[in-house]
């Protein structure tokens, strides 16, 4: 590291990021148990700003960086960046250490969960349960900063395929958060498996505009796709986001408050510092319906009149840092779920999101889900539709929010791409939201 620091210190702005990602998945399905380590990616990244552009070299071989021809790049950055001195370290504790639990017991744990879930329904034709553990260790060094973080994350995820009378449906669920084996104790599956079985009887919903309630999971994917992507500041200069025209303006009902926070306690996408050395803190994106802030990486911040936030994230250090979300969620409101349901004469409750797609420039949105539960006369009727898709214009949806429930739930299972690549760990969530949605 010292030799590389010497090489880079001729630049006005430079940093080094060392990273190690390790982990494992134990996957139990009907006929197999696999123990699969995560792809270990270890290496060193040197990053400088040279004559107005960022130049980065990343390698698993330190000598490659040390011997790289850095001298051919302009040592002047072209930007004035005032950095505070900082020296921090974060080690997230595992109450029950993953690797201190013998592999035999980890396998027994996953076997036990598999059998418990499988016993919930005779219509499960195929069931896969995975115990996952990932650990990120990073060290960041610049002229003014010395940072280190060691973040373990554990999860348990299942997917079940149901079969009956020639019909097949699937459902999935799980839990993932920072920490060790203790995270798996929060797994809930009974309601989900019951709903999975009911999907076999589901029909397609009559397409149209409905009064709808988004479950916290569905609110989460909405938060992520609606204004999460749209406020990623590296899109601003490129003219790829309509949000630049709306900063400081009303984009949602005044009941709507939206955050992105990499400092959310124990959430699966939290950290001490981002992949460009920015210390984590929460960003309020929408304040009582007004779009107030954006999410920035270093380059996005340098080229836009916005504050710098800790959203410079990479798939791993062999990838570029972009403005990316972390834990994105709607703030809780004051309504009770029961009141929200009873306020709907004819509508739907949207559940189990599977996919979403952003459109920061056009503000279109697509949210796909496994189920919509029918609400009639202020009650859930028990009828279920599957699959479902919500599409529309983001501000129309957000402005139609008329009730917000009083408890936030975060779903820890998410991953997110930038366009069609650059996958990073994210979470999202929120309370139940009542709104008007176009559902098909």
């Amino acid at each position: 590291m010292k030799m590389l620091m010497n090489r880079l210190s001729r630049f006005e702005n430079w940093y080094i990021l060392q990273e190690r990602r390790i982990g494992e998945s134990i996957v139990k399905s009907n006929n197999q148990i696999d123990i699969v380590p995560s792809r270990t990616v270890s290496g060193t990244l040197g990053s400088v700003i040279a004559g107005g552009r960022i130049v980065e070299v990343a390698s698993s071989d330190k000598a490659f960086l040390e011997n790289f021809d850095w001298e051919r790049f302009d040592k002047k950055s072209g930007y004035k960046i005032d950095e505070q001195d900082a020296e921090f370290e974060l080690e997230i504790a595992e109450q029950k250490s993953y690797y201190e639990m013998p592999v035999k017991e980890r396998v027994e744990l996953i076997n036990d969960v598999w059998h418990k879930i499988n016993s919930q329904s005779k219509k499960i034709a195929f069931l896969k349960v995975a115990l996952t553990h990932n650990r990120l260790v990073q060290q960041f060094v610049s002229a003014k900063k010395r940072l280190r973080q060691d973040i373990p994350r554990t999860g348990i995820i299942f997917s079940a395929i149901f079969y009956d009378k020639g019909k097949q449906k699937m459902i999935f669920g799980g839990v993932e958060a920072q920490g060790g084996i203790e995270v798996t104790e929060k797994l809930e599956y009974a309601n989900r498996i019951a709903d999975g079985e009911r999907l076999l009887e589901a029909t397609r919903v009559e397409p149209g505009s409905y009064e709808a309630i988004f479950t916290p999971e569905f609110s989460g994917i909405f938060a992520h796709e609606a204004f999460g992507h749209g406020t990623e500041a590296d899109l601003f200069e490129k003219g790829r986001s309509m949000a630049t025209n709306y900063l400081g303006k009303k984009v949602a009902s005044e009941l709507v408050n939206l955050y992105d926070s990499p400092s959310l306690s124990n959430a699966a996408a939290s950290f001490l510092f981002d992949d460009e050395g920015m210390i984590a803190s929460a960003t309020k994106i929408i304040d009582n319906g007004i779009l107030v802030d954006a999410l920035s990486n270093l380059d996005g911040w340098l080229h836009n009149d916005i504050k710098r936030t800790a959203n410079g994230r990479r798939e791993n250090l062999f990838h570029k840092a972009y403005s990316r979300m972390t834990n994105t969620y709607f703030e809780k409101g004051e309504s009770k779920l029961t009141d929200m349901i009873s306020s709907i004469e004819k509508g739907l409750m949207l559940c189990y999101p599977t996919n979403g797609m952003e459109d920061p420039k056009g503000w279109g949105i697509q949210l796909e889900g496994l189920a919509a539960k029918e609400i009639k006369g202020g009650r859930l009727t028990g009828r279920i539709f599957s699959p479902v898709i919500v599409s529309g214009f983001v501000p129309d949806l957000l402005k139609s929010v008329s009730m917000v429930s009083d408890k936030v739930e975060i779903d820890g299972l998410g991953y997110c791409g930038k366009g069609k690549k650059e996958i990073v760990k994210v979470t999202d969530g929120g309370p139940y939201l009542k709104l008007i949605a176009s559902v098909a």
């Binding site: 380590p37 552009r53 960022i54 980065e56 592999v103 380059d299 420039k361 279109g364 098909a440």
Partner: protein
């Protein structure tokens, strides 16, 4: 490192070691300036250990990176062996490989990135102020793979990749951001000047695009929409779905009620991103017919799943060739239908075949007149809408697809 790993695993009855080295250069253009340039280089060793006992196989994987102690990593993997289990399978034995051209000498030259970048700018300049060249990301990589196993198998390849991610923005009317992704193994196939103009036209026309009419329509899939149109067939034809018993296909049975669907697995076809003479276990790959005239002919399985199913291993499907039809693309433009080219995502559920997708670029065609559309959702089920599928005789070649330039299917709900 390799020698140390092989010494550590030599006591295991079956092992495979893969050395993968990646070199990549990257150039990022943002609003007309060079935002960033990157140089990436890494090597990783991937190991696989197998121990067969009676009708079961115990399996463990491991990864060794530069700073790892290979002996410790292998020891941990060896300890894991007894806790994993699957039906019995073995690694492939030594085999002969077909020769396919995979490497372009232009790869890893920064000038090649500058050329792609320049071609992009020049092509878009032809459209004047109608459009903004928002961003471009240009990559060139060379990947070297060496596989050897305890049964004497020895496979190696070196392949190149070029990719471009280009975003075009239209600020007029209903503003839009259109992303074009091109991935090819050879620089000479990165035809920015031929592909980009279509996307520029989409961006311009999307300013006046209306929502699609509601109802049930025939849909002509073209362009990007073809990239995932056949994913349901690929997933259901694979060894994994057969073994896990969720495949809807049975050998020698129709996969859909149509006799004009023929799909080949073509791993040896030159010019695809996934073209390869062997798979991840070093199994030699060949081109095969998977579905012929609507009948399921062959399960495409890796060695592992083929052994589970007691069938011949031919490898997973990497690239597909769909047989063209007898009618020209022009003759598929009849009556009222939607011509769809891009979706937010189009990913039919592999288990049910159901899909719901938001339209990003398309046209409503009514008796020869074409109106740009955008937004709205199509819903349907692959097995239903392919019943009367029609395939154009004109063909197109995409990243991992060669086949009809247009595929017209019916009974798709639009809302």
């Amino acid at each position: 490192m390799k020698k140390r790993i092989i010494e550590a695993i030599s006591d295991i009855s079956q092992w495979q070691l893969t050395k993968k080295s990646v070199s990549r250069i990257e150039r990022y253009i943002s609003a007309g300036r060079v935002e960033q340039q990157r140089y990436v280089n890494y090597t990783i060793f991937e190991g696989l250990l197998l121990k067969n006992e009676n009708d079961k196989t115990h399996q463990a994987n491991f990864y060794v990176s530069a700073d790892d102690d290979p002996v410790a990593v292998v020891k941990e993997a060896t300890n894991n062996l007894e806790y994993s289990s699957s039906p019995r399978w073995s690694l492939p034995e030594r085999c002969l490989y077909k020769t396919v051209k995979l490497l372009d000498s232009e790869a890893l030259r920064y000038e090649s990135l500058e050329k792609m970048s320049l071609d992009t700018r020049k092509t878009l300049e032809r459209f004047g102020n109608c459009l903004k060249y928002a961003s471009g990301e240009f990559f060139s990589s060379v990947v070297s793979v060496e596989i050897e196993n305890s049964l004497g198998l020895n496979a190696s390849k070196k392949y190149s990749n070029f990719s471009a991610y280009i975003n075009i923005v239209n600020e007029k009317g209903r503003s839009s951001d259109i992303e074009l992704v091109i991935k090819k193994p050879f620089l000479e196939d990165m035809h920015m000047d031929l592909v980009l103009p279509d996307y520029a036209v989409f961006a311009i026309e999307s300013a006046d695009a209306a929502s699609p009419p509601e109802g049930t329509f025939d849909v002509l899939f073209m362009g990007e929409a073809l990239d995932t149109l056949f994913d349901y067939f690929v997933a259901n034809a694979g060894g994994k779905s057969a073994f896990e018993k969720w495949s809807n296909f049975k050998l020698e049975q129709p996969v859909v009620e149509t006799d004009n669907l023929t799909i080949h697995s073509v791993p040896l076809e030159k010019g695809f991103v996934k073209t390869s003479p062997f798979d991840e276990n070093g199994l030699a790959l060949k081109n095969y017919i998977i579905i012929e005239n609507g009948i399921f002919k062959r399960i495409a399985a890796s060695k592992r799943y083929a052994d589970f199913l007691s069938i011949e291993p031919i490898g997973d499907i990497r690239c597909i060739k769909v047989e063209p039809g007898k009618q020209s693309l022009g003759s598929l433009y009849s009556g009222r239908f939607l011509q769809l080219l891009r979706f937010s995502t189009f990913e039919p559920n592999p288990i049910t075949g159901e899909f719901s997708s938001e339209i990003r670029t398309g046209y409503f065609v009514d008796n020869g007149k074409s109106y740009p559309i955008r937004g709205g959702t199509i819903t349907g089920k692959i097995s239903e809408c392919f019943k009367n599928a029609e395939f154009s005789s004109d063909i197109t070649k995409r990243s991992n697809y060669i086949g009809p330039k247009g595929v017209r299917v019916s009974g798709i709900k639009v809302s």
